[in-house]
Every structure is written in structure tokens, then in C-alpha cells.
């Protein structure tokens, strides 16, 4: 939704702002100033700026989100190894503390910027804007933004990405989309990660995960993969190549 054309006025709130509506007059009977801006107006403004920056450089930006430990960094390592020279990747890493993940990515020969968020439980558009000052985008095809491991807060902050990829690892349980609908509704693609554990953690049913995802009206495709034994990886790499071509 934008803040200029009136599309912020939805079926849910339009009754409040019509002339005789609840918000037309305040409790003291005075006229109130109608605003109808997203509470994250400033973040969204910077996110738009970031997206324009990616677009100018013809760089596809993919925001990776999941619980902590679902395998985002391992997926990126395997992806970089398997893509080889086909696509040039850069990575922005978000964690509360440490450079560990950026160092793992740099060992793969890829440029990585670490954002240490301190106590913040999510990345926001301003942090990405700062990181982009240090990232050379010439000749880069894809920027992966590895968000802070968290299935709640990152869902609220647009970073300027083009696509959201959400990892759901097998040890977490197949009902995560039902428990965290706000997060899973943002998904362009859901990856069931650590699929090598499916034989031992047989209470995880990938069909249940898909059903819970459809219950929240998500049309996102669902792939199973393992960064460890590389099963399912080609499917994911094909998807990435398709997105780059479509972009």
C-alpha cells in the first residue's frame, strides 16, 4: 500500500473515516487531522529507495528469513558453491552479534557485509541502506539478505528486497505456518530445509506444512532440500535462475 493514492483506505477502516465515522471527530469534539500513513512510513520510504538502488544496478535482492538455526547460512554456502561462476552473489548478514556468518560467506569467495544489530531483533531498511554504502554492486546479479533468525519481527520491515524466501527446517515442526502466519504470508518461496532429517524426524509431514501454508492463502511454492547432502538443491538453483531471468 502506498500513502498517497488512498489505497490505505480499506474495507476495514473506511467506515471509521467517513464524515460521520468514528474518527471524523475526536472525543473532545474537535476535528482531527486524518493521516492514514503506515506506522512504518519512514522505514518504507527508505525501503523504496533501497529497491530503486537495486533496480538501477539490475540486482535481484532476496530476503532470507527463518527461525535461528534453520540453516540460512549453510544454504547460502551450498548455493554459492553450486552456482559457481553462473551468477555473481553478494551477501548482507544480519545477526545480533559476531561476524561469524559473514566470515563463513567470505570463505566461499563472496563479498559479505555483516550488520550487528545489537539488541534489535530484525533488520530494517535503514540498516540495509547503510550496508549498501559498503557493497559494490557492479557485476553482482543477486544480493542475499540473511535476516536475523526470528519468525516474528522481521516480517514487519520492508528492506527493499524483491523476494522473500522463508526456511522451515524439519526439526522445527510442520505447523510453523499456522503459528506464524504474518511471517509465512510474506513468502515468495518456502524451503523445507534439513530434509536429510525427514527419515528420523518422521512426525514432520511436508504435506502438512503445505496445507498450513494454503490455509493462510499463500500461493508460494514449497521445495524440500538439504544443504548437507545437496538433495533438492538443483530445484532451488533453477528457481533462482528463473527469478534472475524474469527480473
Amino acid at each position: 500500500m502506498c500513502d498517497t493514492c488512498g489505497c490505505n483506505i480499506t474495507d476495514g477502516n473506511k467506515s471509521l473515516i467517513k464524515p460521520d465515522g468514528k474518527l471524523a471527530k475526536t472525543e473532545s469534539g474537535k476535528e482531527a487531522i486524518t493521516v492514514l500513513h503506515s506506522l512504518l512510513h519512514e522505514n518504507d520510504h527508505t525501503a523504496k529507495h533501497n529497491r530503486e538502488h537495486f533496480d538501477q544496478h539490475k540486482v535481484l535482492a532476496i530476503n532470507l528469513m527463518s527461525s535461528p538455526g534453520a540453516g540460512k547460512t549453510a544454504l547460502l554456502e551450498a548455493t554459492i558453491q553450486m552456482l559457481g561462476d553462473d551468477l555473481k552473489i553478494a551477501v548482507i548478514e544480519g545477526d545480533l552479534e559476531t561476524e561469524n556468518d559473514a566470515e563463513r560467506i567470505r570463505k566461499q569467495g563472496v563479498e559479505a557485509i555483516q550488520i550487528a544489530t545489537g539488541s534489535a531483533c530484525h533488520l530494517d531498511a535503514h540498516m540495509i541502506h547503510q550496508a549498501l554504502h559498503h557493497l559494490e554492486l557492479a557485476n553482482v546479479d543477486i544480493v542475499f539478505i540473511e535476516n536475523v533468525g526470528n519468525l516474528v519481527c522481521p516480517a514487519s520491515f520492508d528492506l527493499g528486497q524483491h523476494l522473500n524466501v522463508i526456511l522451515l527446517s524439519v526439526p522445527e515442526g510442520d505447523d510453523k505456518p499456522a503459528k506464524y502466519p504474518v511471517m509465512f504470508r510474506t513468502a515468495s518461496l518456502v524451503l523445507i530445509s534439513k530434509s536429510d532429517l525427514l527419515p528420523v524426524l518422521d512426525d514432520f509431514n511436508p504435506d502438512n506444512a503445505k496445507r498450513y501454508l494454503r490455509d493462510i492463502a499463500s500461493t508460494a511454492p514449497v521445495f524440500e532440500l538439504s544443504a548437507k547432502n545437496k538433495s533438492g538443491m538443483p530445484h532451488w538453483l533453477d528457481w533462482i535462475s528463473q527469478q534472475v531471468r524474469k527480473f
Binding site: N8, T10, D11, G12, N13, L16, I17, K22, L23, T26, E27, S28, K30, A32, I33, T34, V35, L36, H37, S38, L39, L40, H41, E42, N43, A120, C121, H122, D124, V152, C153, A155, S156, F157, P177, A178, K179, P181, V182, R185, Y212, R214, D215, I216, A217, T219
Partner: protein, 115 residues
Amino acid sequence: MHELAICQSLMSQVERIALEHEAQSVISIVIGMGPLSGVEAQHLKNAYSIASADTLAENAKLIIEFLPLRVKCNQCGSESDALPNKLVCKQCGDWRTRLISGDELLLMSVELAQT
């Protein structure tokens, strides 16, 4: 606890509006939020008391309007109420629906005092 970050963003918007209108203080702020906004009302209220300190809205009343969760079916076209993790059409049961209300997180209005 991203509500504090969201509240700080809210306060800077409200202060900017107050300054634009040359107001002396803010009397009330109305927020509209849906069940899929990703924000907890109680956390927002708690964060508000911290974020509003030393601003023009220090004594302003925060009013939260809860907006309904509604979907429109892409298949049969009917509109129905929904639950945050059950956004299927109540008429035909199809999952291919579009959210028409319920994910908003809006600063709807502010009431300003000129004296």
C-alpha cells in the same frame, strides 16, 4: 519486541505533523491495526509510554482501533470473516483468497492542541 522500533517511527511522524501545524502539543493519536499487522496492541501501548517521553505527544492518549480480518474469494467472489491462520473462503472453502482487511498498521489521525 519490534513494537518499540515501530513506536519510535510513529512518534517521529506525529511530531513532524505537530510541527507542520505549529501545534503546542498532541491530545490524542488514533492507530488502526488488524490481526495480521504483526504487532501486539499491549506491547505497542507499553512501548508508547517509553517512546512518547519528552515529545510533544508526552501526554497524548493512544487510541487503538481494531480492524476486522476479511477475505475475498478469488474463486466464488464472496467476502467472509477469517482467522489469522485460516484465511480460506467461508462460502466455498477455497484457499485462494485475497486479504481485503486485517493487515493494516496505520496512523489514522492525530488531534492537536494549539495552546
